[in-house]
């Protein structure tokens, strides 16, 4: 079976959703949709035994074979873990959404199309081996996420959030494309596996670090790392199933996936390790610190997601250290990253669903209004408590296990000797510990302020009650996983984590069975992580108890010093500022544009002439100048000066006619009778036309000409004149090839049967030109005719004003 085709199954299913939504009114459309992720989940689950053995499943079909671009599905442990998350949580989210979204009130036809599109895109991201198709799916997740966040498009906040997430993630996506381009040039292939196979060659490429940074930009924007996390809290305007699915369990992990996927390629670089670990850890702290400030349930969860993603990111960075250091703890860091990734998907998914249930039942998500829901919604409370305790890192929930491993890994960074980690490394466990304290606080804050703290239930917009059972199924299943994983972690480890770790750290393990790490809930009393956890719990509990005292101090931070404000200012600049800039030079005055054109013409030409030292001056081919030519040139100069200085239009045109006639005289002198004839007649006719047309115009006025303007005009006119003169002299002095005129002289009678070379060239040798010149003349005549005859009469004449 070609697994590559399964990527497209949700996309194809999406085609039928609007049809089902229209035709089958009685059954909630979600029930049809549910089958898609569920079946895919079963299919992917059946691959687990294969991947446990260390086998990978590959299949492909060509897209643009001439460019080496194909859809290549490469399912190893890492891809399989993500595919299972996507389809598994996808099924649960669809199930949840069936109860959450109302068939009659919501545009479900849209919702499920976007959701299925997203599912395809996500499967494509995690399974693609070809970076170009990976990028394609990557942007498709951005687009479908944009559509889902803006699902309630009549709300301003939805549209704002959708746009913000789009701007940031697409920015990162484009940067990532640049990184991919560099990598594929360096490796000579679009395939990620081949890049990793050629990693030494890729690492020698001069742009290697740039590619690394660009790809990290893509991963960090998608995974909401500092400072790009700002789109995630605003994306909470999406329907809650979307938040649960995209913004906690799947899409935001695409960046983590990318980092994990490229770790074997980039981990040799210290830049990679520093940035991934550092930014990850900082994001962990930042997100957990600001989560306590939030008052909206989903905003708390959003910041918590940011923080947890940072945690996983820092673990991925630490796992890269295993390339340089033989210490087993760095191998464990990679394991912990994957493990926490799985754990986070379970508990965060359920918590989002809980937030949705509270919102659905109580009518608000504002934590200041909520409280005392424990006795009214006991099941919801239980699930919320399980999720929160796991998030806080308490036993007996899975978050405890991965948190312990995380703290161990951060402690070990101190001993990492390369890249100056031994000096600054002490900061890592400290920050990690502080962040864990805040994680503990907001987890308790989330669950106890909503359910346990005394609150006036009567004042809520809706009268809360336990939600329909169907809505609870999904969070209960996820919460069950939270507990089950704690008790049998090593089973899960064998099934899905070890194959993923083997893909993450291929230099350590050949097959998943080589991963000998065992997860233990109990390390003994001398394990430092245990005491750190005890410290987290004690300090965290004390701080939670005094939360009301110190939470208001968050208000100290002025609002203009926030990253959101920075983003807004940037967006504002791109609209208003750019508008100002373009207004500054797009004056709408033709004179200004002519200034630009002429000035740039002469500057560019002069630079080109002198940079290429193309200027040459050679008098050897100049013919002797006759006295008539000098006299005529003086007439011409006089006439032109008169044109420039004339005060009335008529005088200027007559002077123009004089210059035209003197040019005709030049033609006579230089033996061009045809030109002279034509020039004479044309000059006469055009002066007559000018006089006919311009006698109706008012007197010339200055059009706001000032002295300054005139000086600038004069300088630029002189510049253009000098440029042209120089170019003419230079081109006259350098004749590279002889003229072809001899051919015309020789063949004018024999081949063309004529005597006047000029006319024969016009009608015979190069009649093509003449054909189109008379066409130009005809168009001019038609133009004059239409402009004068077909003028709009009456009110419409001023339509364009």
């Amino acid at each position: 079976m070609d697994y590559v085709f399964f990527i497209f199954v949700p996309m194809i299913a999406a085609l039928f959703v609007p049809l089902l939504f229209r035709l089958v009114k009685r059954i909630h459309t979600g029930w049809f949709v549910l089958a898609v992720p569920f079946v895919l989940f079963i299919i992917y689950a059946m691959l687990i035994p294969t991947s446990m053995e260390g086998f990978v499943i590959e299949s492909s079909f060509s897209w643009i074979p001439s460019l080496g671009i194909e859809f290549y599905s490469y399912i190893d442990g890492l891809s399989l873990l993500f595919s299972l998350l996507i389809t598994g949580i996808g099924s649960l989210v669809v199930l949840y959404s069936i109860y959450y979204l109302d068939q009659s009130k919501e545009k479900l036809g849209h919702f499920y199309v976007y959701l299925l599109l997203f599912m395809s895109a996500m499967l494509g991201v995690v399974q693609s081996d070809n970076v170009i198709s990976l990028y394609l799916f990557w942007e498709l997740t951005s687009i479908s996420s944009f559509l889902l966040i803006g699902y309630w498009y009549t709300k301003d906040a939805s549209r704002f959030g959708a746009l913000k997430s789009m701007m940031i993630t697409v920015f990162g996506g484009l940067m990532m494309l640049g990184g991919f381009a560099i990598l594929s040039l360096a490796a000579g292939s679009y395939s990620i596996r081949e890049m990793i196979a050629n990693s030494s060659q890729v690492a020698d490429h001069p742009l290697f670090i740039l590619a690394l940074l660009l790809i990290l930009l893509g991963a960090f924007t998608k995974s909401a790392q500092f400072p790009f996390y700002i789109w995630l809290p605003d994306a909470m305007e999406a329907p809650t199933p979307v938040s649960a699915y995209l913004h906690s369990a799947t899409m935001v992990k695409a960046g983590l996936y990318l980092v994990a996927r490229f770790t074997p390629l980039f981990a040799t670089s210290s830049v990679w390790i520093w940035i991934v670990t550092g930014i990850g850890l900082f994001t962990l702290f930042w997100g957990s610190f600001f989560a306590v400030k939030q008052t909206d349930l989903k905003a708390i969860l959003a910041f918590s997601t940011v923080s947890q993603l940072g945690l996983i990111m820092s673990l991925l960075g630490a796992s890269g250290m295993s390339v340089h250091s033989a210490e087993p703890i760095f191998a464990i860091a990679g394991f912990a990253a994957i493990f926490h990734l799985l754990n986070h998907a379970t508990f965060k998914g359920s918590l989002f669903m809980i937030a949705g249930i509270v919102d659905h039942e109580a009518g608000t998500r504002d934590i200041r209004k909520l409280g005392g829901l424990m006795s009214i919604m006991p099941i919801t409370f239980t699930v919320a408590a399980i999720g929160s305790f796991s998030m806080a890192g308490l036993p007996p929930f899975n978050g405890f296990l991965s948190k312990e491993m995380f703290l161990d890994a951060m402690l070990a960074i101190r001993h990492f000797e390369l890249f100056q980690f031994d000096t600054w490394g002490i900061l890592f466990p400290v920050i990690a510990w502080v962040a864990s304290v805040f994680t503990f606080i907001y987890s308790f804050y989330f669950v106890f302020y909503t359910f346990v703290k005394k609150g006036d239930v009567e004042q809520l917009p809706a009268s809360p009650k336990e939600p329909p059972f169907g809505m609870l199924i999904s969070p209960i299943i996820l919460a069950a996983f939270v507990v089950v994983i704690f008790f049998i972690p090593n089973k899960f480890s064998d099934w899905i984590i070890k194959p993923a770790v083997a893909a993450l750290q291929p230099h350590l393990y050949a097959v998943p069975q080589d991963v000998t790490i065992k997860i233990q809930a109990w390390h003994g009393f001398d394990a430092p992580a245990l005491w750190l956890t005890v410290g987290v719990v004690v300090i965290g509990f004390l701080m939670y108890k005094t939360l009301d005292k110190w939470q208001p101090y968050y208000g100290i931070q002025p609002s203009y010093l926030s990253l959101n404000r920075f983003y807004d200012a940037m967006m504002n600049f791109s609209e208003v500022g750019m508008n100002k800039i373009s207004r500054a030079y797009m004056t709408g005055v033709t004179r200004t544009y002519f200034l630009y054109i002429f000035a740039s013409f002469s500057i560019i030409t002069l630079i080109a002439v002198f940079a290429k030292s193309a200027f040459a001056f050679d008098l050897s081919s100049v013919t002797p100048v006759s006295i008539f030519a000098i006299l005529n040139a003086m007439i011409l100069l006089l006439a032109i000066s008169f044109v420039l200085l004339a005060k009335s239009r008529i005088a200027a045109f007559i002077a123009l006619g004089a210059s035209g006639y003197s040019i005709a005289l030049f033609f006579v002198m230089f033996k061009a009778p045809d030109l002279a004839l034509t020039q004479l007649v044309i000059e006469t006719v055009s002066v007559a036309l000018f006089l006919l047309a311009f006698q109706r115009l008012p007197q010339m006025n200055t059009h706001g000409e000032t002295k300054q303007n005139k000086i600038v005009n004069g300088i630029i006119a002189a510049g253009v004149g000098i440029t042209i003169t120089l170019v003419a002299l230079a081109s006259h002095s350098t004749k590279l090839i002889p003229s072809i005129s001899q051919y015309y002289k020789d063949t004018v009678d024999t081949l063309a049967g004529g005597g006047n070379i000029v006319n024969v060239i016009l009608v015979d040798y190069r009649g093509f030109d003449t054909l189109f010149e008379i066409a130009v003349l005809s168009i001019a005549a038609i133009g004059v005719f239409t402009m004068i005859r077909l003028r709009l009469k009456g009110d419409h004449a001023d339509e364009n004003k």
């Binding site: 006919l692 006319n759 016009l762 003349l777 001019a780 004059v784 004068i788 005859r789």
Partner: protein, 140 residues
């Protein structure tokens, strides 16, 4: 008040034909001596402008009841047909043919298809110039 243009009008009646005949001469002479369709056309236009100056627009339009737009079209058609007929006899676009013929009235004459093309140019020039002048002059 109507000005009396007797001298101008009478002179015009004579001069017009001189200019016109000269323009025809220039047109035909073009292949061997200075001239050709373009100058010829312009000179004819000059003659017509003289008519316009001496008489008024309506009189000239009555005397020469051409739609000069159609003259332009005919000229273009003639030019493009002259240029494209070689395509039908398997020759490249714009191949001209010429030879000497012994015509009954003119005697030994050299005929050239380039002349037809030039005639197209001539008609376009006359038509375009006259269209412009009539349109601009007729606009009050």
């Amino acid at each position: 008040m109507k000005t009396n243009d007797v001298i101008l009008q009478t002179t015009t009646k004579v001069v017009f034909f001189i200019i016109f005949i000269f323009s025809i001469h220039i047109f035909f002479a073009g292949h061997y001596t200075p001239g050709g369709g373009f100058v010829g056309g312009l000179l004819t236009t000059g003659a017509l402008i003289l008519l316009l100056l001496a008489f008024d627009l309506k009189t000239v339009q009555k005397a020469l009841p051409f739609d000069f737009m159609k003259v332009v079209a005919v000229g273009l058609l003639l030019a493009i047909l002259t240029a494209s007929w070689p395509l039908f006899v398997d020759l490249p676009f714009f191949t001209h043919a010429f030879d000497d013929f012994n015509l009954p009235l003119f005697g030994e004459t050299s005929l050239h298809t380039a002349m037809l093309f030039d005639l197209g140019v001539y008609l376009v020039v006359v038509g375009a110039a006259m269209t412009m002048i009539q349109t601009i002059g007729g606009d009050t």
